[in-house]
Symmetry: C2
Subunit: 184 residues, 2 copies
């Protein structure tokens, strides 16, 4: 399985926002969903996307979206604004689960389940040199980056990998990782 985990420092944990951007930068979560789960006219069946939202009113919240089970979605931000408002106010949506798992607990659980934990960072080893197989969880931060203590925690279970010297949008990082894995 190929999984991504976005740590969102400010993403709202309720549905009271005017736009995804004004919802603590939930627009970044949308962009990551787009790049993690969508190909041309298809969902990626082998990808699960996670976001841990740490904004008000009820942090943390763990959003889990499974490409294999996702239904009734389009790819534009406005559609996802509705979808996220629904799930953040407790409504159900096929393929999307919401619970209270915090960031560090999710890392620990995935590691215990045999997942390789790979933290995206410019300071890591080049992704081309990594052995990419089995179950993998790629971990990344939002526009501000991972909080130091969470990064240190994740690195107890895994290693840093780099996509080169450029600093990419979180969504680009996910897209590039998907591309690398598609080449294998």
């Amino acid at each position: 399985m190929r999984e991504f985990l976005l740590h969102s420092r400010t993403g709202y944990t309720g549905a009271n926002f005017k736009s995804l951007m004004m919802g603590g930068r939930l627009d970044i979560v949308y962009q990551c969903v787009l790049m993690a789960l969508f190909k041309s006219a298809a969902h990626r069946q082998d990808v699960v996307f996670h976001a841990i939202l740490n904004g008000p009113p009820n942090p943390p919240m763990h959003l889990e979206i499974s490409g294999a089970e996702l239904r009734d979605v389009r790819i534009d931000e406005r559609s996802w604004e509705k979808v996220l408002k629904n799930v953040l106010s407790g409504k159900s949506h096929p393929g999307i689960a919401v619970d209270k798992t915090p960031f560090q607990k999710l890392i620990k659980e995935k590691s215990a389940a045999g997942y390789k934990i790979l933290v995206l960072s410019n300071e890591g080893n080049e992704i081309n040199g990594e052995k990419l197989d089995g179950d993998m969880l790629f971990v990344l931060g939002d526009h501000v980056g991972l909080p130091k203590n969470d990064e240190s925690f994740a690195l107890r279970y895994g290693t840093k990998v780099s996509l080169g010297r450029e600093k990419y949008l979180a969504a680009s990082c996910i897209d590039i990782v998907n591309y690398h894995l598609d080449q294998i």
Copy 2:
């Protein structure tokens, strides 16, 4: 210079739409802009993004966005909905130009100006094997693909390149090309 040209079959050429998706899939144009021009906390100074919009009421329309000159933009779709509505109704925005150049004329002009024309297609040569240097224009279609006659025309001036066997979103294709060029 690194340039991208998206052929949008249905993208509206006026500002009378409720959302970018309902504007003839202008959401795809937005996604391509995002991936073409934005890095983390920066614009790509060396990238120009073009879209030829062929939807109502006034086709074709050529949208040209220069990373070096772009100002006053955020990265979410709603912000770009406002920006695109403004420029499509004749208002100015720094870094964005609108004119009536059709797809084939733009290809011809770029080729005459010394640009290498590279048409993204699953049937092309692997991008890893291509010599990527100098001025380049990467050409791609929207969710339906390039119209046959426009593809044939572009191939009179250039060649097909492939990003592998997967069929990616247009925005992903642009992102992956940017990533490849960043490695050089």
